[in-house]
């Protein structure tokens, strides 16, 4: 019979059907083709960057020689590092609070902590613009203190993600370990440092990577909180894109894509593909 002539597959192996493979392939192409074209055209020896005119690394030299761009990249990395450190501490502590204690208005506090994730970026950006204008936040501080406003804004939307990740990890913590530590005479601090922290370490790594990329990625909120002296990389690229489409923008973008890929590989090395996939 004809139907037995088809290659045999178990009924649930949907991923082995041809149209399913084509679909996934098409989606991957859709997701990656624009980025690949962008990277290829960063080597294009043409100012208008529509037709391929030969290989050059000139635009990388130009991008790296662009002081404003390099400064913006440096600012972005500084903000991301600072925001990650504070978000980790704040997020972990908030997660421990919500996991360990019962207290009045707990539901409200819990909901409020996850609000910065839900509130649209544009509204958060507007809120920080008005807040810093209202409190008269100084804008003429020396580096890196002039990045304070942006860093504060970034921490506010990063730390709830850390709380979320750490909390789901804490759910698997065996409270008997805590009891054991206490019985053996550990103080609260020792218990926290030697028992709880090692348990939540994978979540902390995931949270740190998440915070770092979220901070590095953010355009909208930064756009509203940055001043003329505190340009970040996305804000700089935005003004370049608005102005014109040049290979220099491609080169700068490629550098950031490479950075993202490197970060992803560090994450893979630290945690393995499976763990990374599960944190989302």
């Amino acid at each position: 019979m004809a139907r037995f002539a088809r290659p045999s597959r178990a009924p649930l192996e949907y991923s082995r059907t041809l149209w399913m493979r084509l679909w996934v392939g098409a989606v991957m192409l859709f997701l990656y083709a624009p980025l690949i074209v962008l990277v290829i055209f960063s080597f294009n020896d043409s100012k208008r960057n529509v037709v391929w005119r030969g290989f050059t690394t000139r635009y990388y030299e130009k991008a790296l020689g662009n002081d404003q761009l390099v400064e913006a990249l440096f600012n972005s990395l500084t903000i991301a590092a600072l925001a990650t450190i504070v978000s980790l501490a704040l997020g972990a502590v908030a997660a421990v609070m919500l996991w360990r204690f019962r207290f009045p208005l707990k539901g409200t506090v819990d909901g409020t902590i996850s609000l910065p994730i839900i509130v649209p970026e544009i509204c958060l950006g507007v809120a920080f613009l008005m807040f810093f204008a209202r409190v008269g936040w100084p804008t003429d501080l020396v580096w890196p203190f002039n990045l304070g406003a942006i860093t504060i804004a970034h921490i506010t939307f990063c730390f709830p993600f850390v709380t979320m990740v750490v909390r789901s990890r804490l759910a698997s913590f065996n409270r008997e370990q805590e009891e054991a530590a206490k019985d053996l005479g550990a103080s609260e601090w020792q218990m926290f440092r030697d028992v709880l922290i090692p348990h939540i370490r994978p979540a902390l790594v995931a949270g740190a990577l998440l915070s770092f990329t979220l901070s590095l990625d953010d355009f909208v909120i930064t756009y509203f909180t940055s001043g003329p002296d505190t340009i970040t990389f996305p804000v700089k690229v935005y003004s370049m894109v608005r102005f014109s489409v040049t290979p220099e923008v491609n080169a700068a973008s490629t550098l950031l894509i490479v950075l993202t890929v490197i970060l992803t590989f560090i994450a893979l090395k630290l945690q393995g593909v499976k763990a990374i996939a599960e944190t989302h």
Binding site: S15, V27, V93, T112, C123, A127, I155, L256
Partner: protein, 301 residues
């Protein structure tokens, strides 16, 4: 809810709660409160804003122009969500039923663009969709090919190819938003499908239902919470999208976030911008309330 009562260990509770509460009150609730108060204010002179308790800003937001922009933002966000669902569902299915070795890599493949800078992804699409970009060249080649085939068949050739405007219009905005938000849809769908009891699907297939019928009658109802979660996770950011309509849209593709931005960066009408911001936030709350009404047991994301 289990857990220790806060009174039994006040010192530790203070150590873990004070930093969190301090931050969330000072750097989140206070800024939001300022926006809320300003939305009842009016401009006095160039920089002075008086919080006079007026409702004029909200009244202005109900003008036809702004209502259409709100309506359009909803329509665009809903369309984007629907397309993401249709495109993303088979992908999530494929990942769920892929073999152990491939699954993490497929997931990573979906997640990597999600980690790449939004601005860069938007710019990459702009390059591709421009009048001289690859998308237009590809379409042009198809057109020429068809024309050539018609000539071969002895018919009139097609008129010369004119590049179609793929950028700076509503199409570009929807396309761009789908591109950006697709991973948001696939990941929760996958999480829901992965938890599914496979024996139910096998039973349905054994009892003679086709694959399509099994998916519609068994998989979709069982994965409903994940589908709702995916819809919300896509709909909410799409509704408040700023960058994509700003860079890829035309003059008639303004979404609500662009109007808000204009009040602050160009029109300098902060009270009106504040009112629009809060209307957007209220819209989100309504969406979330609708979602939690559907599900009796709220699930932590």
């Amino acid at each position: 809810m289990t857990g220790q009562d806060w009174k039994t260990n006040r010192r530790v509770f203070a150590a873990v709660s004070l930093p969190t509460l301090f931050w969330i009150i000072l750097f989140f609730l206070l800024p939001m409160a300022i926006v809320w108060l300003y939305s009842f204010g009016e401009n006095r002179g160039l920089t002075d804003i008086e919080i006079s308790g007026t409702l004029d800003n909200y009244k202005r937001a109900t003008e036809w122009l702004y209502l259409t922009i709100f309506g359009k933002s909803f329509a665009v966000a809903a369309l984007v969500t629907l397309i993401c669902l249709i495109v993303g569902f088979p992908v999530a299915m494929a990942i769920t039923f892929a073999n152990e070795k491939w699954r993490p890599w497929l997931l990573l493949g979906i997640m990597l663009p999600f980690w790449t800078n939004l601005l860069i992804r938007t710019y990459a699409l702009m390059m591709l969709l421009g009048t001289q970009g690859f998308a237009n060249k590809g379409l042009g080649a198809l057109w020429e090919g068809t024309s050539w085939l018609k000539v071969l068949a002895g018919l009139q050739p097609l008129p010369t190819w004119e590049p179609v405007p793929l950028l700076f219009n509503n199409f570009a905005v929807v396309f761009g938003l789908v591109y950006v938000h697709l991973p948001f849809m696939v990941l929760p769908l996958y999480a829901a499908l992965d938890r599914l009891d496979r024996s139910l699907i096998e039973a349905s297939l054994d009892l003679g239902a086709g694959h399509f019928r099994t998916i519609m009658r068994i998989v979709v109802p069982l994965a409903a919470p994940g589908i709702v979660a995916g819809v919300m996770i896509t709909l909410i950011p799409a509704l408040g999208a700023y960058l994509t309509p700003d860079l890829m849209g035309g003059t008639d593709s303004q979404m609500i976030a662009n109007v808000i931005e204009r009040q602050f960066k160009k029109a300098n009408d902060w009270p009106f911008g504040a009112a629009l911001s809060f209307l957007l936030i209220y819209a989100m709350f309504i969406l979330i309330a609708l979602q939690s009404m559907r599900r009796k047991v709220p699930e932590a994301h």
